[in-house]
């Protein structure tokens, strides 16, 4: 493979350089029916699962067909998307904020051919390329993060866990039979790249062992004071230790850190600052399940998700315990919630004591908050409870 230059000259990096031009202006990319009616929409209707119709003051209509994706997308599949958009949508397409694709057409008769085309496409392994759904009172795509595909701090894989859960709950993606929208999110470590902290259900990668300390490397790779400062619980202190030089066999004293294991809650912040403190561990790592959060201001304020399962191990490749747990939660919700009730509304209405009963999840001491002052406000400060 020969290096082919773009025209960039490494010796004169500033030559011809274009910077700070930002993204393309979005109006360049709006389909005509959208451009013409921008800011003049009257109302919308979900004409069937996955298909939205928006009506404009002008009388124009736009039909959007929403399809799921795995988010990971090779350019081969991407080009297939573009082909479909060229064929049906005059060369326009959009992605939603939850990694779904929307194909938009400007009249109803274009919907069926588009749908037929989309559903006809499957991967070699048998899965749909473009399942239609994700609208209304149902389940949409799981927003997620890198996992073992790209990040350095994950406690689990993102794409795999998401695939498993979406398979388990697939029928809900293409239907709208839930009490309200159900938003599931996934993040592969406590950094929570996404809105996992306020999702109806959240799957979260989680370490359970304090960092291993690579004493040989701490002083080479890290600014020790920064690593110490990074720990939210002050579990880390600078220290010295004696190590054996691998090459010479000599003992030498090195600067390093010591960790008070019982103060560690495995957040990985120290690792972010110091590569010599890895957390990843087959037995330690796994998942936490959170639930009851939301983002919209509808009816009441946004809510944080709460931890409802303290640990699920990394049962690769198909995480059966995770799938089971999701199924239990979703089934109980669908069965018990009232129309318009988000997952958290339902749990709050029936009470968390009932939540654990009807979902069959176990309540353990891990679920009681003990992190800093605000923990106190999560304890039950009333005699109002259900037996």
């Amino acid at each position: 493979m020969a290096f082919i230059s773009s025209g960039y000259n490494p010796d004169k990096p500033m030559e011809n350089r274009i910077t700070d031009i930002g993204p393309r202006h979005f109006t360049e990319f709006l389909p005509p029916v959208i451009k013409n009616n921008k800011g003049k929409w009257l109302w919308h209707e979900i004409i069937e699962p996955g298909v939205l119709m928006h009506k404009a003051e002008s009388g124009d209509e736009v039909y959007s067909v929403r399809v799921g994706t795995a988010r990971i997308m090779g350019v081969e599949t991407l080009r297939e998307v573009l082909d479909i958009a060229d064929k049906h949508c005059d060369g326009y397409v959009r992605w939603t904020t939850r990694n779904n694709i929307e194909f938009m057409v400007d009249s109803k008769d274009k919907v069926q051919p588009l749908k037929d085309d989309l559903l006809s496409r499957k991967f070699d392994g048998g899965s749909y390329k473009f399942p239609i759904g994700g609208t209304g009172a149902g389940m949409t795509n799981i927003v997620h993060t890198q996992g073992w595909i790209h990040c350095h701090t994950p406690a689990t894989d993102a794409s795999g866990t998401v695939k498993v859960v979406m398979d388990e709950l697939f029928e809900e993606f293409g239907q709208m039979r839930m009490p309200a929208q159900l938003r599931i999110s996934m993040a592969c470590c406590l950094n929570m790249c996404g809105a996992v902290h306020c999702s109806d259900i959240a799957i979260l990668g989680y370490h359970r062992k304090p960092p291993a300390i690579d004493h040989e490397e701490v002083d080479n790779l890290c600014e020790i004071p920064l690593a110490v400062a990074a720990c939210p619980t002050a579990a880390i202190r600078p220290t010295k230790t004696t190590i054996t030089d691998r090459k010479t066999g000599e003992e030498k004293s090195v600067k390093t850190v010591a960790i008070k294991n019982e103060r560690c809650m495995f957040c990985g912040n120290c690792y972010t600052m110091c590569p010599a403190l890895p957390l990843t561990d087959a037995e330690g790592d796994g998942l936490v399940i959170m639930a009851g959060g939301k983002v919209s201001n509808r009816i009441d304020a946004p809510k944080f998700s709460k931890v409802v399962v303290a640990f699920i191990p990394n049962e690769t490749p198909r995480w059966p315990s995770l799938a089971k747990c999701m199924r239990q939660m979703v089934d109980a919700y669908v069965k018990g919630a009232k129309k318009y009730e988000r997952f958290g509304h339902w749990a709050e209405r029936i009470g968390w004591e009932r939540f654990f009963e009807v979902t069959g999840l176990e309540f353990t001491h891990h679920l009681i908050d003990d992190f800093r002052d605000p923990a106190y406000f999560t304890w039950r400060q009333t005699t109002n409870f259900k037996f």
């Binding site: 930002g22 080009r79 060229d86 209304g136 994950p154 894989d157 944080f304």
Partner: protein, 437 residues
């Protein structure tokens, strides 16, 4: 013929949901097939090795990417995430596997020609694997080598008129919901404001000068389709100040069952006939609605614009005419002290060009946070540490009950010396003249 056996990953090809494994295999295969046609600038087997490495993680249940790696393009402090594999001997194709963040257009509409160009570029100079999109909103180009970074940037800027997004301690790529372009509820042009602020703050986006990352997100209305209130240091959320517009005929049509409630969102299950009392009036959090002579009445003064009634009856109820947005500050993920939602800072501002009032808020906040924020301290944490009062002080926004869910519990008020007659210095001799020992 795949380069590596992936028996575990293979099990993720079955099931109906789009399989990322199948997608990656397809991509790997295509590279092998096309290797004679395309002069791939990074290893042909990059995706094969990605699958191999991932399989290893599935076996060992541990991650195999090394920590960080500082790479990027000249003059920018963001837009690229360096990544190296810890088994480069076994998986040389992913020895380097950096991602490039490309600043997506607001609302994520695309013309196919643009994306085709991007696909070609990425096929040629990268792994061909993307995330459409990253959690912040960028187009993520997943996996390339260090020498390709400047080339990619050059082609992006020169051939595609397209810049990188953010990473590091700078302004991150702003993101908006689709707003006015396809939503009847957008109270301001969320995409336009997103674009304008992105352009205004290009320098902050590309050149880290902040204590930590900083995010903007733009929701056209309180439904929050881009989740700004949960994950942006400044959230811009549309709202209105006047009355909800009511079409009484449409109300009657809903009541009569002629229009499906909530835009048909509940059509998959039989929830019984629509009951405006139960489904709208009783669920209104402020109880400011009622029926009178077959007409729906709203006491708009008491409405908090929660969107519920509009969501249920989009054809009958419309957002008001005096529109604008609220600004909330300080949302973030849980690291370090726990997650934060955005806190209401400016209840209302018009969302109109040249957006000066909005920029003033932003710049006042930045001036303060850049001065006072500690290393790796998000705005929300600085607010917590120095108090909401401080934020009001630096932005010049007057204290208002809307700033609080409820007034403080603890009477531990930090009075300032100038607020207390006589000041803080007291003469103990004077005290003792009244209070002998």
């Amino acid at each position: 013929m795949p380069k590596h056996e992936t028996p575990l990953l293979d099990q993720l090809e079955s099931g109906p949901w789009p399989s990322f494994v199948s997608d990656l295999k397809r991509q790997a295969e295509s590279r092998t097939q096309k290797q004679n046609d395309i002069e791939y600038q990074i290893p042909v087997d990059v995706v094969d090795d990605l699958l191999g490495l991932l399989e290893l993680s599935y076996v060992e249940k541990e991650v195999h990417w090394k920590h960080g790696g500082i790479v990027g393009v000249f003059g920018y402090g963001g837009g690229v995430i360096g990544r190296y594999c810890d088994q480069p001997q076994k998986f040389p194709g992913v020895a380097h596997f950096h991602t490039v963040r490309v600043n997506q257009p607001a609302g994520k509409f695309y013309k196919t020609d643009f994306l085709r160009q991007l696909a070609d570029l990425w096929d040629f100079r990268g792994s061909g694997v993307t995330n459409m999109h990253g959690s912040t909103g960028d187009i993520i180009l997943l996996g390339t080598t260090t020498p390709q970074l400047e080339e990619i940037f050059f082609e992006l800027t020169h051939n595609m008129n397209q810049d990188l997004g953010g990473s590091g301690s700078n302004l991150r790529t702003p993101e908006s919901c689709l707003g006015e372009s396809r939503c009847e509820w957008s109270c301001y042009d969320a995409q336009e404001l997103c674009y304008q602020l992105t352009m205004e703050y290009q320098d902050e986006l590309h050149r880290p000068a902040f204590p930590y990352k900083f995010k903007f997100k733009f929701d056209g209305c309180p439904n929050g389709c881009v989740a700004s209130i949960a994950r942006s240091d400044l959230s811009f959320i549309g709202t209105w100040r006047d009355d909800i517009r009511i079409d009484q005929e449409a109300v009657a049509a809903y009541v009569g069952g002629e229009i499906q409630p909530n835009g048909g969102a509940h059509a998959g299950k039989d929830w019984g006939p629509f009951d405006i009392q139960k489904e709208v009036i009783d669920l209104c959090p402020t109880k400011c609605m009622w029926m009178e002579g077959g007409k729906l009445k709203i006491n708009d003064r008491e409405c908090t614009r929660c969107m519920h009634c509009l969501n249920v009856m989009p054809r009958a109820l419309r957002i008001g005419n005096d529109r604008g947005l609220s600004i909330l500050a300080g949302a973030k993920a849980p690291i370090l002290d726990g997650a934060q939602m955005g806190s209401l800072l400016l209840p209302f501002v018009k969302g109109e060009e040249p957006y000066d009032a909005i920029k003033e808020v932003i710049e006042n906040i930045w001036d303060w946070w850049m001065e006072e924020g500690k290393n790796r301290e998000r705005l929300g944490e600085t607010m917590k540490r120095q108090g909401f009062q401080k934020l009001l002080e630096v932005t010049g926004i007057p204290a208002d009950p809307r700033h609080v869910e409820h007034p403080r519990f603890t009477p531990y008020i930090f009075w300032k010396e100038e607020e207390v007659p006589g000041g803080f210095e007291r003469d103990i001799a004077d005290y003792r003249s009244r209070h002998p020992k």
